[in-house]
């Protein structure tokens, strides 16, 4: 019997990381994720051989991650909007050097210093690269505290499997709320050995070089193409949730916190005789294009609801590929969309079309 614990989202991520064998954390405080940094301090400073550093900046933190990952450590950092922006150069280096790590972004309102309230305005930054050059992160979008746990563990596994940074893209609401969670048994053996590529002692082997750089365009192209082939493989890791998709009148696509709101609206719809389907992408990169494309064959209208000016809606339009009309409803600046707003939007779309 696995114990159920009541945990705050940010702390659940921290416990999940430690559960998954993460022993190195480098980070800088920023609201609304500071509890995670504090949790890692409490736990890791008591574990022999582990390391927690409150770094001098987010830039230093991501570069400590780069070093720790290069040395073969299971390593994590976390931040929110502005801090994630500061980490982008380092993330690009990690991707080029094919180093695994987990980066948590508990999104807050932006741009600029923005606000400290929940938002989803970092979707483009997270899913389209974020830093300079040709690369992607593996991006996972939880929508409950249990999923924060499960996807944090999964993020470490995927990062190692593809030797690519993985990001948990949550928001301030998920980080702050408390829900019961369970930690399933974690077999350490599933952490792959890094002995064949990590830096260390070169006794008995040739010295290794981790070089995210090549002045020869043909050589750099080879490096980038090798990274690109991983992204071609990634669609097999697609994960999503569908709700009420048997015979929907309209489909809503939403992730994270907004998907929770949509689930309330689905119940309202049932009472009012409107069948609202939900497709909730859990992996944002790779994006679940196929299931949305399939839905576009079946319904005339798809509504994308996001806490942004409209970012994921572009991927949904790509997925729908003109086969159904894609509408957008968003609130931004840290405003959480209410069920009433989505309900009114659904009725408006159905009445007009």
């Amino acid at each position: 019997m696995v114990e159920r614990l009541l945990m705050k989202g940010n702390e659940a991520i921290g416990e999940a990381a430690i559960h998954a064998g993460c022993r190195y954390y480098f980070g800088y405080p920023i609201t609304p994720q500071s509890e995670l940094t504090a949790y890692m301090a409490r736990r890791l400073l008591k574990i022999e051989g582990a390391a927690f550093i409150q770094s001098e900046s987010e830039i230093a933190a991501i570069n400590m991650v780069y070093g720790a990952a290069a040395a073969g450590g299971r390593v994590m950092t976390s931040s929110s909007g502005p801090g994630i922006s500061l980490k982008q150069e380092g993330i690009s280096y990690l991707a080029c050097a094919e180093l695994p790590c987990v980066i948590v972004n508990m999104m807050r309102g932006g741009p600029g210093l923005g606000s400290i309230q929940p938002a989803q305005g970092d979707y483009f930054q997270a899913t389209k690269g974020g830093g300079h050059g040709d690369y992607h992160l593996i991006v996972l979008a939880p929508s409950s505290v249990q999923e924060l746990v499960d996807l944090t563990i999964k993020a470490f596994d995927l990062a190692d499997k593809y030797r690519n940074p993985a990001m948990i893209l949550g928001d301030g609401l998920l980080g702050q709320m408390m829900e019961p969670v369970q930690f399933k048994e974690f077999q350490k053996e599933r952490i792959p050995s890094k002995e064949d590529w990590a830096l260390g002692s070169c006794q008995g082997r040739k010295p290794r070089r981790i070089v995210p750089f090549n002045l020869d365009p043909d050589e750099l192209e080879k490096i980038v193409n090798k990274i690109g082939r991983k992204y071609e493989d990634l669609p097999k890791e697609v994960q999503y949730e569908v709700v009420n998709m048997d015979d929907p009148d309209i489909v809503v696509v939403a992730y994270g916190t907004v998907a929770r709101v949509v689930k309330t609206v689905i119940q309202k719809g049932k009472k009012e005789g409107i069948n609202i389907g939900l497709i909730r992408p859990i992996t944002l990169y790779p994006f679940p294009y196929a299931v949305i494309n399939d839905a576009a064959n079946r319904v005339k209208q798809i509504l994308v609801a996001e806490m942004s000016l409209g970012q994921m809606v572009e991927d949904v339009k790509l997925a729908a590929n003109g086969k159904s009309k894609v509408f957008f409803y968003g609130r931004t600046g840290g405003v959480v969309i209410s069920p009433v707003e989505i309900w009114e939007e659904v009725k408006k779309i159905l009445n007009q079309n």
Binding site: Y24, G67, A69, A70, G200, S201, C202, P207
Partner: protein
């Protein structure tokens, strides 16, 4: 039968250096490699190459190497050392890297007294980008971006990193050396060796600043560059041990 009294250290690869004629990077590389040989640590050493001319350092040392983003080598070294505390970790950084874009990283790595060795190459100019002003460029020094000479009124005075870092309590060893004559080179090697030895002994952070020439961007011959360094740089950047944990009473 004659004995070899001077040979290429084993900790250097055979790859010819990519530096300009007379540039001191090559001497510094060799001194580090000799120290690695003498302490028998090459097999356990992880080096961090910076951005700048010496980004190619990863080609020259016979140990594991990684290239860091500009200025971030001390943070990268921190990450490596915390995962692999039994390995010897050194960074190799220029003046733009360490004293400008990476000022925060070096100050805080020193303050945490990370058990790493930092080789700081101060040649008072940006080399790879073609001769722009460095934080360590001298007052009045003409560079691409101080074409009328460095004016302290608007550009500040050159930063003395050893002195600045020596105000911290934690570092184990901080010294400034030069290479313009054999006596200096011998002293420089001793300082570098001490830096690595202190790391091996777990004493903490060590930094050796090496005053270095950049004949190409200074617009001088290697011989003139050595003279300029002695005449202009050493008076402003005194050669000394600024901090030595062994000598704390």
């Amino acid at each position: 039968m004659m004995k070899k009294v001077f040979a290429r250290p084993k900790s250097l690869t055979e790859v010819p250096f990519t530096y300009c004629p007379g540039c001191h990077h090559g001497i510094i590389h060799r001194l580090i490699a000799e120290v690695m040989d003498e302490l028998n640590i090459a097999q356990d050493t992880i080096g961090i190459a910076p951005v700048g001319c010496s980004v190619f350092a990863y080609l020259f040392f016979n140990c594991d190497m990684i290239v860091a983003a500009h200025g971030r080598a001390p943070a990268v070294a921190t990450g490596i050392k915390r995962v692999k505390p039994n390995n010897i970790v050194f960074t190799y950084q220029g003046d733009g890297d360490l004293a400008s874009i990476g000022t925060a990283e070096i100050v805080h790595a020193a303050n945490r007294s990370e058990k790493i060795t930092v080789i700081f190459v101060n040649n008072a100019i940006y080399g790879m980008t073609g001769g722009q002003m460095a934080p360590t460029s001298l007052e009045g020094q003409v560079t691409q971006t101080s074409p009328y000479g460095r004016d302290p009124k608007t550009m500040g005075m050159p930063i003395r990193m050893c002195e600045l870092l020596s105000t911290l309590n934690s570092p184990a060893y901080i010294a400034r050396v030069a290479l313009t004559k054999p006596a200096y080179i011998i002293r420089a090697k001793k300082a570098i060796k001490k830096g690595f030895q202190y790391q091996i002994d777990g004493k903490g952070f060590s930094l050796i600043e090496v005053l270095s020439t950049c004949p190409t961007n200074w617009g001088l011959s290697p011989k003139e560059a050595n003279e300029w360094l002695e005449k202009k740089m050493i008076p402003y950047y005194p050669l000394a041990e600024f901090k030595n944990v062994e000598e704390v009473s």
